[in-house]
Structures are given as structure tokens and as C-alpha cells.
């Protein structure tokens, strides 16, 4: 599901616009609402909005630049993007001192270490929760129930993203039990799991080698029927790593086969194992079962892949995955090697 900042920006202004039409007759309201999409795209300032809506819009701009443009930029452009991103986030915070998305994103870049960022998130988590709950409580009681539900949901999202980021950072810091606790907290708040925090949980269970915990977690999630089935790349990599840790290589290979079958160009992704920067707004929104999704999952599974002593310095599971994938898909290995040689030649 993931968080899409553009879509959320649209929803926020849409809800406010709908509220501004209150008291108008149905025909008038419908006529005006038809103009909303055009005005949102071309004449945003003409729409009713609060400072917090404006600040959130700046968050979407910063997210687009940092999360979606930065990974593809050359060094010179990267510096400009980072500077722009900071400036935009500063502006968002000055417009709305409670813009916790901007506060979190700014701190992600400013923190000197993973640990420092996690400490920052932990220290301010309660404050974020209180603020989001106040926003939710302030929803006018006369809103139609469906709209009120969406407003309540949007009000809590900055906190959900905050907790999901805490869980992810705790995992990176090697605090796996803490990561699991936070993931469960996020799931309690939002059983539909917009933040896809269950992916982080699957990796944390694997780090703790808690196989029965992971199986139980999968079974419970399946009962809720809200999320996708647990055949995503994160869960699959967690199960694969658990089998590998048990030295059940046959089962590990069966999981690898499933990954190769369920994702396009999975072999290349498994051989490359690119490490991407974390999304600063939230986990990047990618299509389920897409090539992007397996690339993203492998990047997050670095905590599993790069552990242990290995001659290549890659990590024990990382090397095993490359070897097994190359054995099963020699063409993919050749293609990756050719690409790497090409990149080296052109100095990339």
C-alpha cells in the first residue's frame, strides 16, 4: 500500500475543499467540485488551505526531490537537490511547527549516526502522537462518516510514519526486539498497515532467528485479510534467511526459486543487491511484485545479507544468494557482469 505523498496532498486539499462547500446546494457543490482537479494542478493557491496543508505540500516537494530524484542524480546535481530539500523542509517547519513529517525528514539528514536519529525519534514520539490525536479529535462532528473516517486516518498518518521509521531505524541499529515492538505498535494503530511495517517486522524476526514468531505473525496477518498475502519479497527473504541459518539449504533454494518466479528480473536484482538510500518520507511507493519492489526489499534486507565473515566482504548470505542465482540463471550473471564492466569503463 505505502504512503504516496502526492495522493495525500490531494486528499487533504480535497477534504478541505469539500468542507468549504458546506451550505451550498447539491448542484452548486457538484459544479464547483468539478473544478477541483484542475485548480489543484494549476492554481493551487486559489484553493482553501491552512498553513499545515501548505507545509504538507512542501513535504511532498521535498520528498519528490530527495526520494525520487536524488538516487538518479550526478554528484553536482545531488548537492543542489539536498540543499533544496533542506530549504523546503525548513520552510515547511516555519509554516507549521507541528509538521512532523518535515521535522522527521530534516532530522534524518541532520543526525550524525543511525543511533542519534533513533534517539531523536524515540524522544519525540509521544509528542507526535499527542498532536496527531488532537488533530483527529478536532474533526467537526457534523462531517459525513466516510469523510470523517478519511480525515481521522490522515490526521494520524504522520505518527504512523514516525513509528514505522522508528521500527526501521531500530532494525538498522541492531536493536531487533525494539524494532519488533515498534512494528507491532504500528500494526495496532493501523491494522490495514498502510506503512507496510510488517515487512520490517519480517526482517526483525529473521534477525532474531525467531522462526515460530514469524510463522505466527504471518498466520495472524493472513487472518486479518487486509494486507496482501505474505508472499512479498521481504517475507520471502526473511524465510529464506531463516532456512539458510538452520542450514536447510534445500528450503532456502525453494524460497529463492519462488522469488525468481514471482518478480520480473529478480535474478539480476539478486545478483546486484543494490543498496538504496531509505526513503525519507516513507518507504518508496512501488508496485507490488514489480522489479522495483524486489530491488527495494533486497536493499532493506541488507541487515540479513551482509552479516557474517565472508572472503568478498559482502556477507555470508549475500554471497550465497549471488552464487545460487548465478547457478540457476547464468545468463543473468553474464548480463550483470557485462553491465558492471560497461559502467566501470564509462567511469560510473
Amino acid at each position: 500500500m505505502a504512503f504516496d505523498p502526492q495522493r495525500e496532498d490531494y486528499q487533504r486539499l480535497g477534504l478541505r475543499f469539500a468542507r468549504s462547500l458546506k451550505g451550498k446546494n447539491a448542484a452548486q457543490a457538484t459544479r464547483e467540485f468539478i473544478t477541483f482537479g484542475r485548480r489543484f494542478a494549476q492554481d493551487r493557491d486559489s484553493l482553501p488551505q491552512s498553513d499545515s496543508d501548505r507545509a504538507f505540500h512542501l513535504v511532498t516537494l521535498a520528498s519528490r526531490r530527495i526520494d525520487y530524484e536524488l538516487p538518479f542524480a550526478d554528484e553536482q546535481r545531488a548537492h543542489r537537490i539536498i540543499d533544496d530539500g533542506h530549504r523546503i523542509l525548513e520552510e515547511a517547519i516555519s509554516l507549521d511547527p507541528h509538521c512532523y513529517d518535515a521535522i522527521r525528514m530534516k532530522s534524518a539528514a541532520a543526525s550524525s549516526s543511525f543511533d542519534a536519529f533513533l534517539t531523536f525519534l524515540n524522544e519525540r514520539s509521544d509528542e507526535v502522537r499527542t498532536h496527531c490525536e488532537e488533530q483527529r479529535a478536532a474533526i467537526p462532528p457534523d462531517e459525513p462518516s466516510e469523510r470523517a473516517r478519511l480525515m481521522a486516518n490522515i490526521a494520524m498518518r504522520p505518527y504512523l510514519r514516525w513509528v514505522a521509521t522508528q521500527a526501521e531505524e531500530a532494525l538498522i541499529c541492531g536493536r531487533n526486539r525494539e524494532s519488533l515492538r515498534l512494528a507491532h505498535k504500528a500494526l495496532e494503530l493501523d491494522p490495514s498497515d498502510m506503512a507496510d511495517v510488517r515487512f520490517t517486522a519480517a526482517l526483525a524476526y529473521a534477525k532474531l532467528e525467531d522462526e515460530s514468531g514469524l510463522q505466527e505473525f504471518i498466520a495472524t496477518r493472513q487472518k486479518t485479510r487486509l494486507a496482501r498475502p505474505s508472499d512479498d519479497a521481504w517475507t520471502r527473504l526473511a524465510l529464506l534467511s531463516l532456512a539458510f541459518k538452520r542450514h536447510d539449504l534445500e528450503e532456502a533454494i525453494a524460497h529463492l526459486d519462488k522469488l525468481l518466479d514471482s518478480y520480473p528480473h529478480a535474478a539480476e536484482a539478486l545478483i546486484r543487491q543494490n543498496e538504496l538510500p531509505e526513503g525519507v518520507f516513507a518507504r518508496l511507493a512501488v508496485a507490488p511484485y514489480s522489479e522495483d519492489e524486489i530491488i527495494l526489499a533486497l536493499s532493506e534486507a541488507t541487515v540479513l545479507l551482509q552479516e557474517g565473515i565472508d572472503l568478498q566482504g559482502r556477507g555470508v548470505l549475500s554471497t550465497w544468494l549471488i552464487q545460487e542465482t548465478a547457478r540457476k540463471r547464468p545468463q543473468a550473471m553474464l548480463a550483470v557482469l557485462a553491465q558492471q564492466a560497461n559502467d566501470a569503463q564509462s567511469g560510473r
Partner: protein, 333 residues
């Protein structure tokens, strides 16, 4: 560094026990006499292939140990070359011992360790050996009570299992490591091989506070480098920073050079076949402990930096460095 396995002593015991079995019952005094006679001239008492192979291992371990005496005088390249020659000789000697007697467990273990395989392959092959021996358990009597280490014929199997458990840490198989160590502790509670130290590290990595506490109380909470460092890691991972700080202070104050080694790790060669011997509280102990903990520390990206930031830790490390004539390396150099 002194290798831990006292092969000569084990051989004397083995030969004396086998001879007693042949002679029928002997009084304690007579057995002591017999042991003295074996010590004088062990070769004379070797009368089966198994002991012949064990003798070959004893001799090669002597040569191995002797060849390490002047390692400290060599530069990196010379050291690498000598190390390779030494390992090649060890593999060849193990091969010969296995020709003499293919069931020589120490030869199987030492051969794998000296082959300089990747840790992943080493684990695969040690595990394969361990499992194939376990399926043929019948040949060796493992006592149900008492300490298996007391049976000198079982020791090679215990050594193999301890080496496998340590390789489990290097290949991120912490649950298996714990299981292997707990099994060793159940069969040989006096734990001559120090499996509890390996287990402490694995439990810290798995954030298993209950397991660690059990192990710590079993140890009488006396601690040593492994227990102090494992506790610091465990508490840090669980976010209990004051407790982590106390454990780190213990590691710094009670383990010679602990702080220095955590910030400036030192190279330690493969254990042949066991963890080398060390004096309690010695620099050697700290060095082995930090070396074994390395894969776990690397998995906690900010742990060393956090330790460095704790009051007095860096100063203690640098002070130890200066006092002992080591050179402080800056990582950005």
C-alpha cells in the same frame, strides 16, 4: 599465543587406558606406573592405527606450534607466506594421519581448519563431519552422567563441535551456535573448551536476555571478557543504556586492554583446533574475545562509536596503547 590442545598429554592418557584395557584390571598405583612408562616412551605403546594416527597429529601440532615462535618478527608478506606453508604442512600431515586411520576426528577437524576455506564452506564441512560422526555414534561411549571431557576418547568430538559452534558465529547462525553450545554444556558441564563464552556472544546477538542470564548465573556471575562484552552488547541492543554502560565499564576495567582492542581490533589467526589458552583477565583473553565478537559488533553499526563516547573509555584505550608500546591507528588515515 599457545595452542590449547595438549595432544601429548591426551596421547599418554589414551595409550595408558588402552593398555590397561588389554592387561585387565590394574590398581590405581599400577595405573600410575603405567602412565609414567607411557610418558617415557609413548611410541612403544602405540599398537593400533587409531593411536598411530593420533601420534602423527601430536607430532604435527608440535611442529605447528614451534613454527609460530618467531611470527612477530615477520612483515606481513613474510607472515602470509609462512602461514600458508604451515597450513599446507598441517593439511598434508592430516591427510597422512587419515591414511593411517580414517576415523581420526582430530585429523578431520584440523584439516578443515587448516584449509583456509571461506567461513561458509568451513561451516558446511564441519557440520557434515559432525553429523556423519553423530550418525555413527555407536563407536564412542558418551557418558550420560559426569563430564564427557573426562573421557579422553570423546574429546576430539567435543573439539569438533566447539569449532563448529564458533564458525556458527562467523556465518550468522546464532540459534544453531546456541544449540551446539548448550549440548556441549550438558554433556561436558565443566566446559574445558569454553563453549559458554561462544554461547554468551550468540545469546547477546539474539537479544536473548533470559538465556544470557541463565548462562551468567551458571558462571556464578564471576564474568570474564566474553561475559562483560556480551552483556554490554545485549543491554545496548535492548536499549538499556545505563546497564550497558556498567557492563562496558566492567569490560574496560577488568579485562586488560579491553577498551583498546574494542577500538583497535587485532588480527587473530585461525584456532588450531581450539581457542588458545589464556590467563584470566589477560590481554590475550581480551584479544580472543573481541576477535570472536567481531561479526556481532559489526552488525551494530554505532556500538563501537557509542563505547568510544563513554566517559573515560577512549582515554583508557589510549593509555593502554601508550603504556604497552602499541601504535594508535586512526581509521581515516
Amino acid at each position: 599465543m599457545t595452542i590449547a590442545m595438549d595432544a601429548r598429554k591426551e596421547q599418554i592418557r589414551r595409550l595408558a587406558l588402552k593398555r590397561r584395557r588389554k592387561l585387565g584390571s590394574l590398581s590405581d598405583e599400577a595405573f600410575e606406573e603405567l602412565e609414567l612408562a607411557v610418558r617415557e616412551d609413548p611410541m612403544r605403546f602405540v599398537d593400533d592405527d587409531e593411536e598411530q594416527a593420533f601420534l602423527q597429529i601430536t607430532q604435527v601440532l608440535d611442529r605447528y606450534e614451534q613454527s609460530r615462535h618467531d611470527d612477530d618478527l615477520l612483515d606481513d608478506e613474510q607472515y602470509a607466506q609462512k602461514r600458508e606453508q604451515r597450513n599446507t604442512a598441517l593439511v598434508a600431515a592430516c591427510d597422512q594421519a587419515l591414511v593411517t586411520y580414517d576415523g581420526c576426528v582430530d585429523a578431520l577437524t584440523l584439516r578443515l581448519l587448516a584449509l583456509d576455506l571461506s567461513q561458509a564452506e568451513l561451516f558446511d564441512r564441519l557440520l557434515e563431519t559432525h553429523e556423519s560422526l553423530r550418525s555413527n555414534e555407536g563407536s564412542v561411549q558418551i557418558p550420560v552422567a559426569g563430564d564427557a571431557w573426562a573421557n579422553v576418547f570423546v574429546r576430539p568430538r567435543l573439539r569438533l563441535q566447539a569449532a563448529l559452534a564458533r564458525t556458527g558465529i562467523n556465518t550468522s547462525r546464532f540459534r544453531m551456535t546456541c544449540d551446539l553450545c548448550m549440548d556441549l554444556l550438558a554433556r561436558a558441564p565443566l566446559d574445558a573448551l569454553g563453549a559458554r563464552f561462544t554461547c554468551a556472544l550468540a545469546m547477546a546477538r539474539l537479544e536473548d536476555e533470559k538465556g544470557f542470564d541463565w548462562l551468567d548465573s551458571r558462571e556464578g556471575r564471576h564474568g570474564n571478557a566474553w561475559f562483560h562484552l556480551s552483556r554490554a552488547i545485549l543491554m545496548y541492543k535492548l536499549g538499556r543504556i545505563p546497564a550497558a554502560r556498567r557492563a562496558l565499564r566492567g569490560f574496560d576495567q577488568l579485562c586488560a586492554g579491553g577498551a583498546y582492542l574494542l577500538l583497535q581490533p587485532m588480527y587473530v589467526d585461525t584456532y588450531i583446533p581450539d581457542r588458545p589458552t589464556f590467563e584470566p583477565g589477560s590481554f590475550q583473553e581480551s584479544m580472543l574475545c573481541v576477535h570472536e565478537a567481531d561479526p556481532i559488533i559489526s552488525d551494530i553499526p554505532d556500538f563501537a562509536a557509542w563505547a568510544c563516547d563513554q566517559k573515560g573509555f577512549l582515554a583508557s584505550a589510549q593509555d593502554f596503547c601508550t603504556r604497552n608500546g602499541f601504535q594508535w591507528r586512526n581509521w581515516d588515515e
